[in-house]
């Protein structure tokens, strides 16, 4: 082969093979590409370095194809929500529930992910804990303890916007161990277009249960990394600004939270960076905001809806 295809031809063929490889990747998956890269290397057209480069690109595409679809995200989120509402009692005051849904669903329109498979929905948890959970797909749970840290609507909007930020960035799905996704996707791809056998549903359900455990243990026990919390705070600031809320509401809420968090508590005290750290990070990115000076009507409806919180 080396004799047939000289250096000059190789020079012409290399970009051609690379383009073919990318096209094949788009249409036929990665195994073909890896094989093509190997063949290219063996034929002497590609150096081993060039071949390795193509293989690496193929692997990267393979990983992005493992993405969970919005409908799968929805089913994951429902079950995460079910686990949360079985652990906590739900606060059943209709005007409060209605209000946080009006607030949450209105500001979600201004997020970078305004539509999810099943939409955004909010519930209040009947607990003194200072806590909140965002299940993938947009089911969001806020504790009474956290709402008590809010002195005005801008602060309450900030709490909801931070959780919408977690949904928008799909942080919940990041908590799932990669090995589970790979096997779930493999099973799914093999059977695309066909009905699953009971054994396959059982296998998928085991992977599903594991994924739910990964997410709920992150949400409830371990918390996200500082980087992800910073990302959610930044998303919150952007959403608030787009809606006409003052992002200072987020800072005000964090200051109140700072006075109320109890060291060692199994809530934000354990799962989130300290309010002081979060405030510092927000101010580093955005500088200082002007004081919250909301209109009378905002304050009236906020007080009325959350009077008993």
């Amino acid at each position: 082969m080396n004799k047939i295809i000289n250096k000059k031809t190789g020079f012409i063929l290399y970009p051609v093979i690379l383009l073919t490889a990318i096209s094949m990747m788009l249409l036929q998956g990665c195994e073909v590409v890896k094989t093509a890269a190997k063949v290219g290397e063996e034929a002497g057209i590609l150096t081993s370095q060039q071949a390795a480069g193509i293989e690496k690109t193929a692997t990267a595409v393979e990983r992005s194809q493992e993405e969970i679809t919005p409908s799968e995200e929805y089913y994951i989120g429902r079950t995460v929500g079910a686990v949360i509402t079985n652990k906590y009692k739900v606060y059943q005051v209709d005007r409060a529930t209605r209000y946080i849904n009006e607030l949450g669903q209105t500001i979600a329109v201004h997020s970078d992910l305004p539509e999810t498979f099943g939409g955004y929905h909010f519930l209040i948890l009947d607990t003194d804990e200072i806590n909140a959970f965002a299940a993938p797909g947009g089911l969001i749970f806020i504790s009474r303890g956290l709402l008590r840290c809010c002195n005005n609507e801008d602060a309450a909007a900030a709490v909801l916007a931070h959780e919408i930020g977690h949904v928008q960035h799909r942080h919940g799905l990041d908590a799932i161990q990669k090995s589970r996704i790979t096997s779930a996707v493999t099973t799914g791809l093999l059977e695309a277009g066909k009905n699953l056998t009971y054994a396959q549903v059982a296998e998928l359900t085991t992977i599903f249960e594991g994924s739910i455990r990964d997410i709920t243990s992150t949400l409830i026990n371990n918390g996200y990394s500082r980087a992800l919390e910073r990302q959610a705070d930044q998303a919150a600031v952007v959403i608030l600004q787009r809606c006409g809320y003052n992002p200072q509401g987020l800072v005000d809420m964090l200051r109140v939270m700072d006075t109320r968090l109890k060291p060692g508590a199994l809530d934000f005290a354990k799962t989130h960076p300290s309010p002081a750290t979060r405030i510092a990070s927000i101010q580093e990115s955005y500088g200082a905001f002007s004081p919250v000076n909301q209109g009378l009507q905002r304050q009236v409806r906020f007080k009325r809806a959350l009077a008993g919180i």
């Binding site: 509402t85 607030l103 992910l113």
Partner: protein, 166 residues
């Protein structure tokens, strides 16, 4: 020898051109949310032209910010959809898929992509009978209408451009 090189070159180039142009010409996208609305203008509070459901296909005819002007293939109606409702991947519903409206019928939705779907949720419920989905089902029913969102924004002195983020 020259002839052989020429043939290799021609065949590979033809394959390249075919493979590269094929996906570019397909400006068809699929609805990836349960239900959405085609709007007369690129924003959430524009007049609703038509409703579209999960798996419906659209031809993309234009774009503005995070909005796409689309033609709904099943009805031929044209309007604007937010990009978050659209997927470049084709979504196939398997035979027997029934209605896709509302949370109550979510269990009837069959997803050809497989993976985590209503069948998996059903099996999860069988295995974990102590976990109730009551509140999840209830909260999914809480939907604030466009009119109520606009009223909430107006009364609170909020900006409601409805351009849907980016």
């Amino acid at each position: 020898m020259k002839k052989k090189k020429f043939i290799i070159y021609a065949v590979v180039s033809a394959a390249c051109i075919f493979l590269l142009t094929a996906p570019a010409s397909a400006a068809t996208m699929s609805i990836q949310v349960r239900e959405t609305q085609l709007r007369a203008t690129p924003g959430y509070f524009g007049k609703i032209i038509s409703r579209a459901a999960y798996g419906d296909q659209v031809a993309v005819e234009g774009a503005k910010g995070s909005w796409k002007k689309v033609r709904l293939l099943k009805t031929g109606r044209t309007g604007w959809l937010n990009s978050s409702a659209l997927s470049a991947k084709e979504i196939k519903l398997v035979a027997g898929a029934k209605g896709t409206k509302g949370a109550a019928s979510a269990s009837e939705l069959q997803l050809a992509g497989k993976g985590f779907n209503p069948e998996v949720e059903k099996e999860f419920k069988n295995r974990n009978r102590q976990i109730s989905f009551l509140w999840v089902d209830k909260m999914e029913q809480i939907v604030i209408s466009d009119a109520d969102k606009q009223k909430f924004a107006r009364e609170g002195g909020l900006t409601l451009n409805g351009n849907g983020g980016r």
